[in-house]
């Protein structure tokens, strides 16, 4: 496998780094402290990202996107992962689920997400259904040509108030040989639709400026034309893209690890105690060595998954391994970086404490570490099942 960057990838990353240096990093501390991104700032980042062609770089050129392959997108996600998501989220990578849009849905949802006129939310999780998605209770009952949605979603995160949500709801029960199984369907539901309420969720200590929303549906009537994909295939649709989302979490974790390692190394080389730089003490230097090694291992797992995705051969466990290892390595790197910085590692004056908090979410969203291990273990054991 060739991990050498192409000239195009090098140029793209140079340009993206310069963009983040100018448009994003200077505002991180402020946004984190405020627990929000001022609308004007968000719009400014978005406008600049559109101008630079970074916006929707993940989607195919045929729908107006940047047309990057998965490998290049992995490099982009790695770079964006270094920055605070509340800000970097305004350089949108609309969910690939939207590629399932058909007919009017293309003009109403897919295209505006590519041009930056609309922002989507991906609404799967419920208070009673986190890791166990099948325990969801939000339902959509058919009524003529419409569906009536009732239920509640939480932890739905977007960089700004979403214009519409891709909402997963139960539309029936299938009797299978292994017992009853819920039919889950994805709906496109506009903000402002009667019976659909969006409210800001609680502050999260990890990625404070990247807010979550609570969506409640009370007798919310939507046309059957709002179904994304087909009735009953919502989870297949979601699963098709969920794996890639996990690889992106892995890539973002690598970016963050690189940022931490750089700070930790500089600190270890310059902070002196007992008459020498603390990096001269093995207790510190071995932490750096571990971080660097785990970063390289994580990068390889992520790149491996990306290359396979480009070849169309990535498996769910390729994605799970990349996410699991990189996010856990990031957790260790963040903790070690705080340790290397000592008391300063916990002070708001430096970005270390923020990165340490921000790192924590990566082991939880897009499937917890435990769920990733389940996915990997299941694929190992499946051949032995009768």
């Amino acid at each position: 496998m060739n991990y050498q960057l192409t000239d195009e990838q090098t140029m793209l990353l140079d340009s993206l780094r310069a963009f983040l240096d100018e448009q994003v990093y200077p505002y991180e501390a402020e946004a984190d402290r405020a627990g929000e991104v001022p609308e004007e700032l968000g719009n400014q980042i978005k406008a600049k990202a559109i101008e630079m062609g970074f916006y929707a770089a993940n989607l195919p050129e045929s729908v107006g996107g940047g047309g990057l392959d998965y490998t290049t997108m992995g490099l982009v996600e790695r770079e964006l992962g270094k920055a605070s998501y509340g800000l970097a989220g305004h350089i949108a990578r609309p969910t690939e689920l939207l590629l399932a849009c058909e007919g009017n849905q293309i003009n109403n949802y897919l295209t505006p997400c590519v041009t930056g006129e609309k922002h989507e939310a991906f609404a799967l999780t419920e208070p009673g259904a986190g890791s166990d998605i099948m325990s969801m209770t939000t339902k959509a009952v058919k009524d003529g040509d419409d569906y009536i949605i009732d239920g509640y979603k939480h932890f739905i995160s977007t960089p700004c108030l979403p214009d519409f949500a891709i909402v997963f709801a139960i539309t029936g029960i299938d009797e299978t040989s292994r017992g009853p199984r819920k039919r889950i369907t994805a709906f496109l539901v506009d903000r402002g639709e009667k019976g659909f309420d969006i409210s800001l969720g609680p502050l999260c200590v990890s990625q404070r400026a990247y807010r979550t929303y609570q969506l409640s549906f009370d007798n919310c009537r939507v046309s059957k034309d709002q179904i994304l994909g087909e009735e009953g295939n919502g989870l297949d649709l979601a699963n098709k893209w969920l794996s890639m989302g996990r690889v992106w979490v892995g890539a973002q974790s690598c970016g963050k690890m690189e940022r931490l390692l750089k700070m930790a190394t500089e600190w270890a080389a310059t902070r002196e105690q007992f008459g020498k730089p603390i990096g001269h003490f093995q207790g510190t230097s071995f932490k750096l060595a571990n971080m660097a090694t785990e970063l390289q291992a994580s990068d390889l797992l992520v790149m491996h998954a990306c290359k396979k995705a480009d070849q169309g051969s990535m498996t769910p466990d390729d994605a799970a391994m990349a996410k699991l290892f990189a996010s856990e390595a990031l957790g260790r790197a963040a903790d070690d970086t705080v340790q290397i910085f000592g008391g300063m590692g916990l002070m708001e004056e430096l970005p270390v404490e923020r990165l340490w908090r921000d790192a924590r979410i990566e082991r939880i969203w897009d499937g917890t570490s435990e769920i990733q291990r389940h996915i990997i273990a299941r694929s190992l054991l499946r051949p032995f099942e009768t």
Partner: protein, 249 residues
């Protein structure tokens, strides 16, 4: 004007802390981030603005060096240059040789303006533009912080020791750029894709039949001595005492 030539030199990125190779044979470039010389990037930006204002039809970027220089040329193409020329050589190129090579390209391309950085941040020679103007027998305007084209002449504001000096030169001419001339644009994603399809000619240096002016041989490289830790003195008396102590006054 039909054509502007812009020189793009590949140098160690200005953010990188430069290190000497352990054998003292030169500056470490293995695994080191390389970029377009910042002054050259400014020269290209200026040429692109001339093109956008309709003052120039074509912007051609030129680099002299190994095939790895293609990376910087591609960046130049992505910024908006129309064409690139790589003069291939494995030798290190000193200012006079560089100027001779540019002179050959000027003839081939019938260039009416050559925009170069005032110097490259690696060797800091600040000679190529001046030598080229002399060889070409055309005017030079160095350290430009403002350029205004008026048909067959260019009004150039130069950053000189005593302040700003404005001169007018007849075209064709060589202009070298200073830091404050402009702020180069960032490369946009769609332009990176377009750059792939723009022509990049590779010319072996031998084809240009220029005489190499290599007259200096670098024997060994050494890093400058590490700076000693400073001390903070309370007042002038203590400062004078400390200087006396070191035998400096």
């Amino acid at each position: 004007m039909e054509r502007v030539l812009v020189g793009l030199k590949r140098v160690v990125d200005y953010n990188v802390r430069v290190r000497i190779r352990s054998d003292g044979s030169g500056v470490e470039t293995d695994g080191v981030k390389m970029s377009i010389n910042p002054f050259d990037e400014i020269a290209l930006e200026e040429a692109l603005r001339m093109k956008e204002r309709g003052e120039a039809n074509e912007v051609v970027v030129v680099s002299i060096g190994g095939s790895e220089c293609q990376q910087q040329l591609r960046t130049g193409l992505a910024m908006g240059a129309d064409r690139a020329i790589l003069v291939e050589t494995a030798e290190s190129v000193n200012p006079l040789t560089g100027a001779r090579i540019f002179l050959e390209l000027i003839k081939r391309e019938a260039a009416e303006l050559v925009l170069l950085g005032k110097q490259a941040i690696d060797d800091d020679n600040n000679q190529t533009g001046q030598m080229l103007a002399a060889l070409w027998g055309r005017p030079q305007a160095t350290f430009a912080s403002r350029i205004e084209l008026n048909g067959s002449t260019a009004k150039v504001t130069r950053e000189v020791d005593v302040g700003l000096e404005t001169i007018e030169v007849d075209l064709p001419a060589v202009i070298t750029t200073d830091l404050r001339l402009n702020e180069p644009r960032y490369v946009k994603l769609p332009d990176i894709m377009k750059a792939k399809k723009k022509p990049l000619d590779q010319i072996p240096v031998a084809d240009l039949a220029v005489e190499s002016a290599a007259s200096i041989t670098a024997v060994t490289f050494e890093p400058p001595e590490q700076r000693q830790k400073g001390i903070i003195v309370k007042d002038v008396a203590e400062l004078v005492a400390a200087l006396k102590d070191k035998g400096l006054v």
